[in-house]
Amino acid sequence: MLRRTPSMNPTPAARRAIHPPPGPTSPFPYQPGSLLSAGDLSLAEISQILSRARFLEHEDPLKRDRILSKRKIALLFYESSTRTRTSFELAAKALGADTTLVSSLSSSIEKGESLKDTGLTLRALGAEAIILRHNSSGAPWLLEAETRLPVLNAGDGMHEHPTQALLDLRTMLTHLRPGVTAVDAETLAGVTVTIVGDIMHSRVARSNMMLLPRLGARVVLCGPRELLPEVAGLVGPGMILERNFDSALHQSQVVMMLRIQGERLAGLQLDLEEYKANYQLTGPRLAAHAPKAVVMHPGPIIRGMEVTAGVADGVQSVILEQVTNGVAIRMAVVERALTAGGAA
């Protein structure tokens, strides 16, 4: 009964006009206030967030305090964090909300409680939105599906960190397009943003890759093969791979440096001296190739590794501005989480 192949030269299925089943349709996000991926936001929603960020930043703190007065927000953190956790917390409190922090090292998560059960528990305790930082890519989608609460993705594995992309955008606009908060497909036309380093493991890179090309920016990805596989260039339009740091710098109005994520290297061996020689942003390199570029870094910075101390503290660096912008952006995003869809 075993058949022999009748065809020596198989034609591609496409030539037989085979129509395969359709791809999946996404039910996400379930909640209008959720922010799971930077790619979920329309340009109008981005503009709205930027304009609310500016408004809330300048609002009278006593009035601001009443916007989410006594509303309950849970921060659920499976990974350590300084900037993101603190700025989300400060943002929520600035709007008057009550926040509670659950972190994996001081909760029943240590005892083996699942993400689903932890989420349902927080909901039962009255949480109206959950801000989630998780070491597994995709965890916010699971949490939203199980709790049906608005979920704010504060970083999921190697996947996305959408509020970081928004605060990066706000920082870029301040320097390149001062006064602009309403964005469109041309806002960043003519701007080249180079993202440098450990792109493979970076959720900041992915969120920026999902966001910036939609505003007209050219995104150049720069790094060694181990940290920047060729496939990265295929994830969407407007992405260019450039292995040579100097020529990437030469084209750039914005340089975004990334930390090498030792915790996610998974056995990958990397020659750090060689890496520094090729990809460390030093004062002379910056002066020679991009003397006017804005230097960004999502933090945490490892001084002497991806950037020298001189560059981190130098006049082109906007690293601390990024941190400050984080609070304003997160106020807008937290407000949106609890008021989108007319729930407030």
Partner: protein
Amino acid sequence: MTALVIKGGHLLDPAAGVDGLKDILLKDGHVVEIAGAGKLKQANGAEVVDATGLTVAPGLVDIHVHLREPGQGYKETIATGTAAAAAGGFTTVAAMPNTRPVNDSPEITRWMQSSERGACVRVFPIAAATRGSKGEAINDYAALKAAGAVAVSDDGLPILKDGTMREALAAAARVGLTVIQHAEDTRMTAGGSMNAGPVAFKLGLRGMPAEAETSIVERDIRLVSELREARPHLHVAHTSTAGAMAAVRQARRNGLRVTCEVAPHHFLLTDEHVGLYNTHAKMCPPLRSAADRDAMIEAILDGVVDAIATDHAPHAVHEKEVEFENAPNGITGLETALGLSLYWLHKEWKMPMGRVLSLLSAQPAALLGLKGRGTLAVGSFADVVIFDPKAEWSYRARETKSKSRNTPFDGWTMLGRVRWTISEGRVVYSNPA
């Protein structure tokens, strides 16, 4: 045992070359007589199944299922897994050995076939190729075969080492067993949870490269070629990459005894179907690129593929309701294989129905040497599926007979509604219109 007559149906038995209106008499678990409509000679007193307007075909044969017993009865039992098989039209299933403990002994092989397990269709165990499926020491294949094993495999894991695989192929050939390989170079897939490529990169998931499958299939074929005097039979489980399929094609041209199966999800879905971390689209091998999927379709239509096998791999709901990386591999498949194959291969891609049915019965039965299965010739086992070939219906995972419902095909349109499944003369599933 009472006799049973199937009257008025359209008998489609590709192995026997029958395609027409026939009445069939089943008695004592076997096919006793086949005659033109109303012409049976020995039908007096027999119970009648009216198959008017329906297709009558040999019961389906799935050579790749996980029934989870012994050890993981919360996912599936032999009783519930075979109930799902019967609902899907299958009358024969071959059960993989990655149970707890691993089925690497004649005792467990016999235990699985005991009537106490409550199987409603025939279960043939596939025994572990190596002790504990650890890929080191070869098991006693003669003893396993004597206990009822129909093949050896470490499925779920590859037989990775060249020396071990060579030894397994040679030892299996000596006793006339097939070695079924789960082709995955686990040195290349560690930490991966989906197919490597742009989709995995975008989702921030570590990838399992197609090369990890292709390279093992190529290595195995090389070993079969080196051992060709002994005529070993290599069967490639759940083939999913264009490269692996090309290697199988070439091996066949070279006259080697190399066969392969493809699962419905690998000829229908791609890594895009992972969507936003749908754990019901996570299995091993993973859903591949569109080019790989198209190569599976092509190979099925060309006749390179020997069998459609489901890799039915039930998991409890709570096990799949977790982060994608942490979810176990596998989906259920026994209830959807016929409906999906008829809808897509036959209706959409114009493969003759007899050839589709052959891939689901005659060919898999032949490749594992299951005598009297996969055909309804007189003297064969009375294993029959009777289905409405025109009925289109929507699969509902919540109505499954399996203990688990981890399927990406919930809500998909199926063609061909099973009305009766008969295993060795007993009606084990009925769903009259």
